[in-house]
């Protein structure tokens, strides 16, 4: 049996996300409850969460969440970590013993910043430095896997049903303004925790339901820019693509959506001059980052969340609003469970991104 | 009114039209049976060599002089097609004398004359010469 990284495993999924525009922080219970009714969309082979605003005390430090299969791996990883970063805190991530969750690796988190010297010597900006560092560890140290690397955010994932994973990680003890959740339905039975979702790089986290047919075209292109798709999962590739377009090419999230879920040429050809030229340009220049096949993505990032469907909307995804809260889920029931009376509920059109950000002036 | 037109630029002088015509008017269902060993008497004729060539058949003129010259009233124009009534024709050949295209020809029997009468009642709805032309040199169209 091959794990992620050895083989590409298609999977169906459930996703859910809750966001507070006012920046009000709330515990993980809401999102856990919301994913429960979609139990049957996952099969117990992977669940996970991303939460933003959960580490206010370390707001300005990178929070690395790492799985270790062995002590050796931990030693190797920490050595490299400490060589590149000024680590302020290192601790085991608190968990709750549960019969449903088995084969757990050692799960650690570290808070820190890169050493200035290191940074200058590479000439990269801080985020680029961190990103490359993560890729390096994940591709070079067997048994060590960094699955979260953003500031004031964290990813929690395991093999199991999402609700169990949530309890396992004691998410009721965390408070964040944005939560995303994922229940996985892989079409084989890998035992590896790293394969669970969300997938995250820096503060980008992606939960995704679908199986993209453009995977290898996207992968082989994105890998030209220093990324290594070690997991061979869509989620990983999507995270890198977003990182590349949004962070490195400086495209807005909307422009990013115009690339990965571009409108059909038939639509573009009907647009007026300037807009048509702009869309044509984006599709042409980043043609290898067009994502085809079914997907519904929840992208978390500092201060916001983006929901996006493939351009044919081959996967279900609904959005609800109540007061300052925005809910996104694969199924309406997931939203109704936690918020029966919504101000508004709609199903976004394929390729039309729904982007929510914190209200002006809100600091988290 | 659809007519047979010839574009000599594309005519190869292969003479297939003559054989297809002879076959179409033989009443036979098998070309070999119809034409093997026989001298053919097509109603379309290819002029020229492999450099310049073209096929000529009845133009089905708007004001056909053959019709007006026939002493036996054997030639008439119906539904845009100039037709021969072989039973009336006495073979005086006045039509041959007046047709400016040389498209009316004596029959082998020396009596009635023969000419293109647009064999369009077939599956393709096109005359045999048109259907069989390998290079689109003969067309059947409105102009």
């Amino acid at each position: 049996m091959q794990n992620e990284g050895k083989i590409r495993i298609p999977s169906g999924c459930a996703i859910s996300g809750v966001f507070s525009k006012s920046g009000e922080r709330f515990d993980g219970e809401t999102v856990i409850r919301s994913i429960v009714p979609m139990h049957d969309r996952s099969n117990g082979l992977g669940g996970g969460f991303a939460a933003y605003g959960i580490y206010p005390q370390h707001r300005d430090l990178y929070a690395f969440h790492v799985f270790y299969d062995s002590v050796r791996a931990k030693d190797e990883c920490e050595e490299i970590l400490r060589s590149g970063f000024d680590i302020e805190a290192a601790e085991k991530i608190p968990t709750r013993k549960m019969p449903q969750i088995t084969d757990e690796p050692a799960i650690w988190r570290y808070f820190g910043l890169p050493f200035d010297k290191q940074l200058q010597s590479t000439g990269f900006d801080e985020r680029e430095f961190v990103a490359r560092f993560v890729v390096k560890i994940n591709s070079s140290i067997p048994g060590a896997y960094v699955f979260s690397s953003g500031k004031n955010m964290g990813v929690f994932k395991a093999v199991g049903f999402p609700e169990d994973v949530g309890r396992y990680y004691r998410l009721e003890d965390y408070a964040g303004y944005c939560w995303t959740a994922h229940g996985r339905y892989p079409t084989n039975t890998p035992g590896w925790w790293g394969g669970a979702h969300p997938f995250s790089l820096l503060d980008y986290s992606v939960v995704h339901n679908g199986e993209i047919s453009s995977y290898d075209a996207n992968r082989r292109f994105i890998e030209m820019f220093g990324y290594r798709c070690t997991l061979l999962t869509d989620t990983e590739a999507i995270a890198y693509i977003v990182d590349y377009l949004n962070r490195r090419q400086g495209l807005s999230l909307r422009e990013t959506a115009d690339v990965i879920a571009a409108p059909f040429w038939s639509e573009i050809d009907r647009m007026d001059g300037e807009e048509r030229r702009r869309r044509t340009y984006l599709r042409n220049v980043f043609s290898s980052l067009l994502i085809t096949g079914p997907f519904s993505i929840l992208l978390g990032f500092t201060g916001g969340m983006m929901a996006l469907n493939d351009r044919l909307k081959l996967r279900s995804m609904v959005v609800g609003e109540k007061g300052d809260r925005v809910y996104v889920a694969s199924e309406e029931c997931a939203i109704r469970t936690v918020e029966p009376s919504l101000d508004r509920l709609w199903s976004p059109r394929g390729g039309q991104p729904v982007i929510v950000t914190l209200n002006k002036g809100v600091r988290v | 009114m659809k007519r047979v037109y010839v574009n000599e630029r594309w005519c190869l002088g292969c003479h297939l039209c003559e054989y297809n015509c002879a076959f179409a008017n033989s009443g036979e269902t098998d070309m070999v049976k119809a034409l093997q060993g026989a001298e053919i008497h097509p109603r379309i004729q290819v002029e020229g060599d492999n450099k310049i060539s073209f096929a000529v058949s009845c133009r089905h003129c708007d004001d056909p002089i053959c019709v007006k010259s026939c002493i036996a009233g054997a030639i008439s124009k119906r539904d845009g097609v100039v037709r021969i009534d072989r039973d009336r024709c006495v073979g005086c050949f006045t039509c041959i004398l007046v047709c400016p295209y040389g498209a009316v020809l004596p029959s082998p029997d020396g009596h009635a004359v023969r000419k293109c009468e647009l064999c369009t009642d077939n599956a393709s709805g096109e005359p045999a010469c048109v259907r069989g032309c390998p290079n689109g040199a003969i067309v059947f169209e409105e102009r």
């Binding site: - | 037109y5 310049i52 006495v90 004398l97 400016p100 040389g102």
Partner: protein
Amino acid sequence: MKKLDYVIVGNSTAAVGCIEGIRSVDKAGPVTVVSREPYPAYSRPLISYLLCGETTEEKMRMRPADFYEKNGVNALLGKRAVRVDPGRKAVLLDGGESIPFDRLLIATGSRPFVPPMSGLERVERKFSFLTLDDAKALGAALTPESRVLIVGAGLIGLKCAEGIRDRAGTITVVDLADRILPSILDPRGSAMVRRHIESRGIRFLLGDSVAEFEKDRAHLKSGKTVGFDVLVVAVGVRPNTDLAAGAGCAVGRGIAIDERSATSVPGIYAAGDCCECTDVSSGQRRILAILPNARLQGETAGVNMAGGEKSFANAVPMNAIGFFGLHVLTAGSYDGEAWVETAPGVYRKLVVRDNRLVGFILIGEIARAGIYTSLIRERTPLDSVDFELLKHKPQLMAFSAQRRAEKLGGAK
């Protein structure tokens, strides 16, 4: 506007052409046809074919039985028009009635010319060969033993000879001229045709004529004597111009008409064998007593009578005639430079004058002769075509690619 009254004197090719010409313009105006013959229009050139059984009286009809009715024609058959009163615009019939007209067509055709021949009155069974009645009478008189004497080796005499060949015993043809068909063939051509006809057992006595007829024999100038049971006089024809002349129409050899088939008298038109018109091949005024001209002149007259516009300006003499399977196609006139080609059973002669083809004789090999005829009719300058090719056989290849494209690309 008042409907026009049309009157047509004569009921053959020109008349039929005229009726159709009128109806192509005027669907209403009443048309009256006056004909001395009791038959609906039939094709006179077919009478010889009738005798040899190539056709039937029924098939000789030029048009279906309901032709007159359908075209609103009042056909007065078996009546004779005796006079035209141009002043009162009326035609007077032998029965005394008078038929008013606004437009009149004179299509009276021609009559046999019988020169004075001493003793002719003594011959009982003597015939002309022009009308259906002539043919019927002749047919009735023939027996397989009949010895037939035909005076005249022109088209009529020889078609008659062919027509009756299998219904008579012997056939002898006498003509003053030293060759047959002198009006359409040159000596060489006529010799060739003569040999062919002779091969079918028809005897010619040429350069000779009848000095004296007895009841059943003719004494010729040469001293020869020819016995016969049946005599056919086919010396020639004369156009029937009296009616026109009486109406004040200019008359030359025939009734003079212009390209619109109009006579010199307004409202009166003429067409067919009774007329003379311009022969484009020679430029001369001639009687072109052939069916196609009659048809076209008649139709032209009809259209113009009804107020339409039509002109027939390129009449030429031409003949398609065959004897016992030998086909002879001729057209135009033979005064000019000649190109001759011969082969066994084949004689081809083209006559050129002033950079134009003016005439031809084709015997035996007649395919596509119409291409030549059209060169004459259209007066095509020969330096605009490849005459070298044409000399050997009529072909469109001889025209410029552009002319061909016009001819074959967008036919009219």
